[in-house]
């Protein structure tokens, strides 16, 4: 084996080992790398009151109620829903049917008191006319 070959195999071997190590670490940390919990996950994990976490899902259509600075809405993953109350300014993309991530904690009444609300953008980009045309043709796919 020439020195070049030996160095090449050494390199491939080290990178392979490193890759396996990284994969193991990441899968072990999987739960902590998640940015938010869906309402279903919240129910499964039974995250109790006063535990701060991020709740993510879609703003349920027709659920937004504004009362001055206080906003109430429900977050859904189509399986389970959680009511949210928030006081403050909402981001531009916040609207019914859109993805949203709220940070806060569940109150004892089961309502999620949000300290911060972030809008999640989806991966679709199109001009307004196209969006309108698709909607008019009845081809608009609401996100699951």
């Amino acid at each position: 084996m020439t020195p070049k070959r030996r160095r090449l195999w050494l390199l491939i071997g080290s990178l392979g080992t490193l890759g396996v190590a990284a994969a193991l670490v990441l899968s072990a940390l999987n739960d902590n790398l998640v940015f938010f919990y869906s309402p279903t996950q919240v129910a499964e994990k039974s995250l109790g009151p006063d535990r701060r976490f991020r709740l993510g899902g879609l703003v349920e259509a027709g659920s937004v109620q504004k009362d001055g600075q206080i906003v109430r809405f429900t977050v859904t993953d189509t399986n389970k829903t959680i009511a949210v109350v928030y006081r403050g300014i909402l981001p531009d993309l916040f609207r019914e049917g859109q993805g949203v991530i709220a940070e806060g904690a569940l109150g004892s009444d089961g309502v999620f008191a949000a300290r911060e609300v972030l809008a999640k953008h989806d991966e679709n980009y199109m001009p307004p006319e196209v969006a309108k045309a698709i909607k008019e043709a009845g081809q608009w796919k609401e996100r699951k």
């Binding site: 531009d92 001009p127 309108k132």
Partner: protein
Amino acid sequence: MADLHFLANPARFRRFSQRVLPSLGFATVLMLAFGLYMAFFVAPADYQQGQTVRIMFLHVPSAWLSMGGYALLAGLGASLLVWRHPLAALMARAAAPVGASFAAVCLLTGSLWGRPMWGTYWVWDARLTSMLLLFFLYLGHIALSRAYDEPERGDRSAAILALVGVINLPIIKFSVDWWNTLHQPASVTRLDAPAIHNSILIPLLWMAVSLLFLFIFLVLVRTETEIDRRRLENAAVQEEEAAA
């Protein structure tokens, strides 16, 4: 004889790059000018984001190029460590700051887009954090390659760092699929059709190619400079040795 061998490849590279650079520079300027014109005046506003969508024309190509640039660094690192290619170390020194700049542009434009759209400049989700790590890997590469008195030792250490950090590239790419993140999933590089309308996709791809030209141009110019610098340093060392 060893010295002659060391110079052979860089010299050939220099002749090649000097032939290519003027026309490449000219093409880069023209393409960038037309790309920016399309990005600002031709491409339509997005149905949800409005005018803010235009940030993407800089943000997305910068992200691609900073990742491609890092893959280049890793390839050069392997070529230095395994084959001892004399040009690889010099080109890695040239490419690292360029890649770092594209990573910085990606992070800054993303942050400026995030404020109006998401409602925050920054969150520690998997995509944003792994991208920040890429920027730090670039900074580490730059620092490490300059950390020794003998430049060859710096080249080796930086090459090892480049190869170790390559693990981060698939993590950046798939972070939005493996974990839920605030950052949206891929719109262009996915298996089915892109989720971007052609009127926005074409300017985006045009900008990506223009910025790729810019990247290549900058790396070639900087590699020439590194060749000259290394020659001067070697000459200075030889002079000192001759004097002593």
